[in-house]
C-alpha cells in the first residue's frame, strides 16, 4: 500500500478508535464495568500509537510539520491531549475521568479527520524550524490546558455536589477533590511551560526573521493574558496555598480565553497580524 493511501486510511480509522475508547471509558464510568476496566487503557495506548503513526507519516509524505491547516492542527492537538491524559492516568492510576477527556477528543478528531486535506502548496513559513517549535509548543500547551480545564470542571462539579449533600454518580465515581486539584495543577503547569516556550521562541523567531508584528496583535495579547493567568495560578498554589476551588476557576478562566483566542480571533483574522 502506498504511504499516502495508508495515511488516508489511518485518518479515517482514527475517529473509530476514539469512539471505541470513549464507549469503553463510558461503560466503566457509568456501569462500573470490570471487563471494560481491563481493556480501555491498552486500547487508548493503541489509539495513541496509531494517531502518532498517522501524524508522523503525514509529515513525512507531505514534508512539513502537520500544522498547515486548522484540521491538521486539531489532529495534533488531539494527539497531544491524549498523550498528556495517558501520562496523568498512568501517574495517578485513576481511569474515571477518561470519559470526560475522550468525549471532546472524539468530536475534535472527527472534525480533524473529516476536513483533513493534502495541500499542494506549503507556506514557506512552515519550513522554518523556529516557527515549527513555536507553533508546536503552543498546540501542546493547549493540549495540557484542555486536561487542566476538564479536571477543574470536574473538581467544581464534585465540590458543589459534596457541599450540597448530593451523592450521585459523580460522587461515587470521580476521584477525590485533592486528586482532581493535583491533576489540574500539574496539567496547568505543563501547559504553562509549553506556552512559555512558545512565546519565547515566537519572539526570537520574529526577531530573526526580521518580521514586524503589530503591537495590537490580538493573538499575542491574548497569549500573554493566558500566560499571566496560569502563572498566577501556579504562584498562587505554590506560594499562597490557594484552595482547589480558586485554582479551578482560574484554570477555567484561562481556558475560556484560549477557546476565544482559537475560535473568535482565528475566525476574525489570520493567526497573527504582521505589519
Amino acid at each position: 500500500m502506498h504511504a499516502p493511501t495508508l495515511v488516508a486510511w489511518l485518518n479515517y480509522l482514527l475517529p473509530f478508535f476514539y469512539f471505541i475508547c470513549t464507549y469503553g471509558y463510558g461503560r466503566y464510568f457509568f456501569r462500573r464495568d470490570r471487563t471494560s476496566e481491563k481493556w480501555i487503557t491498552p486500547a487508548l495506548y493503541v489509539t495513541c500509537a496509531i494517531h502518532l503513526l498517522q501524524v508522523v507519516m503525514f509529515g513525512v509524505v507531505k514534508s512539513h510539520f502537520p500544522l498547515a491547516t486548522v484540521s491538521e492542527a486539531t489532529g495534533v492537538l488531539v494527539l497531544g491531549t491524549l498523550c498528556i491524559y495517558l501520562g496523568v492516568e498512568c501517574h495517578l492510576q485513576v481511569k474515571t475521568i477518561g470519559y470526560f477527556v475522550l468525549v471532546p477528543l472524539f468530536f475534535l478528531q472527527l472534525f480533524a479527520s473529516a476536513f483533513l486535506k493534502f495541500p499542494t502548496e506549503i507556506p514557506e513559513i512552515l519550513q522554518n524550524p523556529l516557527f515549527i517549535l513555536h507553533a508546536a509548543s503552543a498546540v501542546f500547551g493547549c493540549s495540557a490546558l484542555i486536561v487542566s480545564a476538564i479536571a477543574s470542571l470536574l473538581y467544581l462539579l464534585l465540590f458543589y455536589e459534596v457541599k450540597r449533600n448530593r451523592f450521585g454518580v459523580l460522587y461515587n465515581r470521580l476521584p477525590a477533590l485533592n486528586i482532581l486539584q493535583n491533576m489540574n495543577y500539574r496539567s496547568a503547569l505543563m501547559g504553562w511551560l509549553f506556552l512559555t516556550i512558545g512565546l519565547v521562541v515566537g519572539i526570537v523567531w520574529i526577531k530573526t526573521a526580521a518580521l514586524k508584528m503589530s503591537p495590537f496583535d490580538l493573538k499575542s495579547l491574548i497569549s500573554y493574558a493566558v500566560w499571566g493567568i496560569y502563572a498566577l495560578e501556579i504562584v498562587g498554589c505554590k506560594l499562597w496555598k490557594w484552595s482547589g476551588k480558586r485554582l479551578a476557576y482560574l484554570s477555567l478562566a484561562g481556558f475560556a480565553i484560549v477557546i476565544f483566542s482559537l475560535l473568535g480571533v482565528n475566525l476574525l483574522s489570520s493567526f497573527h497580524n504582521f505589519k
Binding site: 464534585l158 459534596v162 457541599k163 449533600n165 477525590a176 477533590l177 486528586i179 490557594w242 476551588k245
Partner: protein, 435 residues
C-alpha cells in the same frame, strides 16, 4: 438401595431466627473441633464441616443415605453436642445443588445481613481449616469449599458488591477521603469519646490518618481513647484553637447545643490556609451549626447525609446482585459437572479393568508360543487396541453424567449390565478417591 454421595446442609441464620435462638446453636471454634468427629460418626455421613458466625450456624455434610435419614442425623447430632433447637421449622435444609449454591452465596457475602460484607469469606475459610484439622473433609466437601473460595474472590474482584461504605462511621471516613484522597497527610480532630467516636477512630486509624486529636468534656475519657488509637487528648476548651491545624473535624457528643457555630468559626478560619475544612456531625442533637456550610471551603455534613451515602452504596451493591448471581451460577455448574463425573468413575474404572483383564488373559495364553521380542510386540498392540476401543465409550460415559432427567444414569446402568460390571468394588471406590 444405593445412594450416591450428596452434599446436605442444615442451617439457621439471621433471616430465619432471632439472636436468642441463633446463639443457642452457635459453635465456638474449639466446640466445633470437638463436635466434627461426633458428626462424622452419624449414620451415612462421610464428610462434615461447621460454619458458625454471629449471623449463622450451618452444618455441611456429605452423605450416601436418604434425605430423611440425613435430616434425622443432623438433629441427633445437635442434641448430642448439647445444642437446642426450639423449632425445627426455623432451620433450613438443602441438598446437593441447593446446598452448594447456598455456600457460594454465603462466601460471596450475598446472604449476609449487610450485603457484600467482607468478613464472611474469611469465616468460611476458618470453617474449612477447622474441618481439615478435625480430618472431617475428604474429596467432595473439600472441593465444594474450594469452589466457594473461588466464587467469593470472583464476586469481590469482578463486581462492585463489596464497594462503598455501609455504616455511618465508615461513610464519614469515606466522605473525608472523597475530599482529601489519602488521609495519611491530614490531621483529624474527634470531639467526643463515646461508642461512635471509637468506631470512627478505628476507621481513621485503618486509613492511616496523619494525626488524631481527641477532645471530650471528661478529659480522662479523651485520654483513654487517645491512648488506644495512638492519638493526642485535648482539653475541651482547646477545640477552637486546634481548628487551624486540622483538616477534618468529627463531632460525636451528646451536647444539646452547638459546639461550633458560624460566629465562633470565623476567627480560627482566618489563621488557616485556604484549604478545605471538613466537618462531620454524627450527633443528634447536632454539634455543628449547619450554617457553617455557607462559609467558603468548609464542608459540613450531618448524620442524614451519611445515611444517604449508606443508602446509595447499598443500592449500588444491590444493582450488582445479577452479576454476582451469574458468577455463582457459573461456578455451581462447574462443581455439579465435577460431582456428576464422580458417579461414572466407578463404571469407567470397572470397564477398563475388565478389558485389561481379558487382554492379560489372552496374552498369557499365547505367551508360550512366542519369543520374548514377539510377545512384547503383541502385548503393545493388544494394549493399544484396548485403549482405542475404550476411548469413545469413556467419553460417552462422561457425557452421560451431564444429561438431565436421570437419562444419563439409565444409560450408565445399561453399560454396566451389558458388560456385566456388577456393583461398585473397593477398586472402584479407590478410583473415585483418585479423581
Amino acid at each position: 438401595m444405593i445412594h450416591r454421595q450428596e452434599v446436605f446442609l442444615l442451617g439457621i441464620n439471621h433471616r430465619m431466627a432471632a439472636v436468642d435462638i441463633r446463639e443457642k446453636l452457635a459453635y465456638k471454634p474449639a466446640e466445633a473441633l470437638a463436635a466434627l468427629p461426633l458428626l462424622k460418626r452419624q449414620p451415612g455421613i462421610q464428610e462434615a464441616a461447621i460454619l458458625s458466625t454471629c449471623n449463622r450456624t450451618e452444618i455441611y455434610v456429605v452423605a450416601d443415605t436418604s434425605r430423611d435419614l440425613v435430616k434425622k442425623s443432623f438433629f441427633d447430632f445437635l442434641s448430642l453436642s448439647g445444642k437446642e433447637v426450639s423449632d425445627e421449622n426455623l432451620c433450613y435444609f438443602f441438598e446437593e445443588e441447593e446446598a452448594a449454591a447456598h455456600l457460594f452465596r454465603v462466601a460471596s457475602g450475598m446472604d449476609s445481613m449487610i450485603l457484600g460484607e467482607p468478613q464472611i469469606l474469611g469465616q468460611v475459610k476458618d470453617a474449612y481449616h477447622l474441618a481439615m484439622q478435625a480430618q472431617s473433609l475428604a474429596g467432595i466437601l473439600d472441593r465444594l469449599f474450594n469452589y466457594a473460595f473461588v466464587t467469593g474472590k470472583k464476586v469481590r474482584s469482578q463486581t462492585a458488591l463489596c464497594e462503598g461504605a455501609v455504616t455511618v462511621a465508615h461513610a464519614a471516613v469515606e466522605l473525608a477521603q472523597k475530599i482529601f484522597g489519602d488521609l495519611a497527610t491530614h490531621k483529624t480532630l474527634l470531639i467526643g469519646a463515646g461508642e461512635m467516636s471509637e468506631l470512627v477512630a478505628s476507621h481513621l486509624q485503618d486509613k492511616g490518618v496523619a494525626a488524631l486529636y481527641i477532645a471530650n468534656r471528661t478529659f480522662e475519657k479523651a485520654e483513654k481513647l487517645a491512648q488506644r488509637f495512638h492519638g493526642e487528648a485535648l482539653p475541651f476548651a482547646d477545640i477552637l484553637g486546634k481548628l487551624a491545624a486540622v483538616d477534618i473535624v468529627i463531632g460525636a457528643t451528646s451536647a444539646t447545643e452547638f459546639i461550633l457555630t458560624r460566629q465562633n468559626m470565623v476567627k480560627p478560619l482566618l489563621s488557616r490556609p485556604a484549604q478545605p475544612l471538613f466537618l462531620i456531625d454524627i450527633s443528634v442533637p447536632r454539634n455543628f451549626d449547619p450554617r457553617i456550610n455557607e462559609l467558603d471551603n468548609i464542608f459540613v455534613h450531618d448524620i442524614d447525609a451519611l445515611k444517604q451515602i449508606v443508602e446509595s452504596n447499598l443500592a449500588a451493591r444491590r444493582e450488582e446482585i445479577p452479576k454476582a448471581e451469574a458468577l455463582i451460577a457459573g461456578e455451581l455448574q462447574q462443581f455439579v459437572k465435577w460431582h456428576n463425573s464422580l458417579e461414572v468413575a466407578p463404571t469407567i474404572a470397572a470397564l477398563r479393568e475388565k478389558m485389561e483383564h481379558i487382554c492379560e488373559t489372552e496374552l498369557e495364553k499365547c505367551q508360550s508360543s512366542l519369543n520374548e521380542k514377539e510377545f512384547k510386540k503383541v502385548s503393545t498392540i493388544a494394549r493399544s487396541i484396548v485403549n482405542k476401543i475404550l476411548h469413545t465409550p469413556t467419553l460417552r460415559l462422561k457425557e452421560y453424567t451431564q444429561q438431565p432427567d436421570g437419562n444419563g444414569v439409565f444409560k450408565v446402568d445399561i453399560v454396566r449390565e451389558l458388560f456385566g460390571l456388577g456393583d461398585n468394588s473397593p477398586a472402584h471406590e479407590e478410583a473415585v478417591k483418585k479423581i
